[in-house]
Symmetry: C2
Amino acid sequence: MKVGDPVIEVTRGGRIESRHRVSAALVDEQGRLRAWLGDPELLIFFRSAAKPLQALPVVADGAADAYGLTDAELAVCCASHSGEPAHVEAVRSILAKIRCSEDDLVCGPHPPFYTPAAEALQQAGRAPTAVHNNCSGKHAGMLAWSRHAGVEITDYHHADHPVQRRICGEIGDWAVSECKALPVGVDGCGVPSFAQPLNVMAGIYARVVAAAERDPASAAGRVTRAMTDEPYYVGGTGRLTSRLMEVTGGRLVAKFGAEAVYCLGDRDRGWGIAVKVEDGHRRAVGSAVVELLAQLELLTADELEALADRHTLPIKNTRDEIVGEIRPNFRVERSD
Amino acid sequence: MKVGDPVIEVTRGGRIESRHRVSAALVDEQGRLRAWLGDPELLIFFRSAAKPLQALPVVADGAADAYGLTDAELAVCCASHSGEPAHVEAVRSILAKIRCSEDDLVCGPHPPFYTPAAEALQQAGRAPTAVHNNCSGKHAGMLAWSRHAGVEITDYHHADHPVQRRICGEIGDWAVSECKALPVGVDGCGVPSFAQPLNVMAGIYARVVAAAERDPASAAGRVTRAMTDEPYYVGGTGRLTSRLMEVTGGRLVAKFGAEAVYCLGDRDRGWGIAVKVEDGHRRAVGSAVVELLAQLELLTADELEALADRHTLPIKNTRDEIVGEIRPNFRVERSD
């Protein structure tokens, strides 16, 4: 690799053992690339970083009001939640309000991300179900939209179902592009996922937070405010996404996606950021995001201090000894 | 990234979502670099790919004979085993023969890699112990050497303990280098791990298999033959390392290391290969190793067919749908 390539280094005994390459784009509301790492036009899948956008039609088209969804319930619609009891309760509450059952969720099951919740299930002799899936809130939101629109709720995960066509149009509108032209894959939970260049994803987040600031009562305003007012429901105990929104008092809107995608919106500046660890390894994400925000001066000294444990991480062995660390090594490039 | 950089691609909906860069070196007994990928002089840690070398002194200095270690027990000394009952039995048998107990193992515990074994422990209400650690055989071998040498068996994991100094010298001899000059880190299980360039690691494997062929009764001959005669004990059910040695009838000696290191020796040709996935992600290793061996024509068509499930791997979602794949995309470079 070339000296100066932006990387997260994994060290052992003070030497580099592995490297994660990082690309990122910081874009303003007008779509101008203001700063970047690596390849800011890298085409990647949006994955769960698209969840706030997938939740917008739930508010915009009246389902949230019709069913009286709370901020916590809207936040869990945008979540990759940890399957903690409060998350599961919020999803069940949405399902009850829209007269659906857990059986209507087509996301498959996986154990809760939050270990104590996974252990509690196991000790109770119960298998995880779709409601524990980190995406169950997003699926509940898609069901809510479908119920309110009066369309069939079965097969809501298919690309040609009205809710998926509606979401595709929504993302296309914010991307200022034709959604039908976007390459589509199937996400980890069965619904469509769209491929976008990093700078386009960053532009979407910039426009959403700028719109939210201009009109707090808009769908963008309500969804992003639900996320930052209820950050625990967007992630869970100790999760980077919840921590970033908590620590910055909601100035940053943040969302992780599988395969090491991360999107952020800065409400004060109307800027969007999209980050991708090239190899998809989750362990490098926190270090990349916190260092990038620090170099961009988008965190105060106190906020950076509060996130220090995500900035550089110890590597421990099975004897619980610290044998290395995960640390950033890059310099952000700027257009000005 | 540049077109042509050697990578393992992770796709979704036919598009690349993530990329793992690969470096590799194929070296002959004389240390000549015959083929490579990426940076063949990349300095990395040997990790568990060093285990066969760490086991050599156990045979060379008489401990294996003195305690009557079987081939399966020698193989488990070289293993990153899956913690299956037969692996645990083999380690316990070594400990009994050398009058040590499980408490003498300083590797910390982790659940068995083999899921049914981990589940069986859990269902029995038992916590994993050091003997289930994938490195427990290596540690038992270090205890065997120490017991036979008449030195203290406590603190055998410290870099200045006689067994670690002996191993360091052994690796230095095969590397044709001064071991004391090697950068040292602490391995996942607490013992020293040495940093080496990939081409030096490949040269070590080349010399070991060449020496083994010249003198089957030598330590190199006995250790490598134990590995290929008892491949199940070096890994476990379904593990790539066991499969590679089984499928090739022992022509290839193979060993995985943490952070996506892989070493191989070809007995027939006296060649060594070292592979590193730059970011340390394990999921890319099988695809890289099988494709590399195929391009180097070190697998027959039948062997390649038998390893097809490790060559390209499906990506499934929580609905058990295939949504992408892990596949190689590189062309090996050759010096001739």
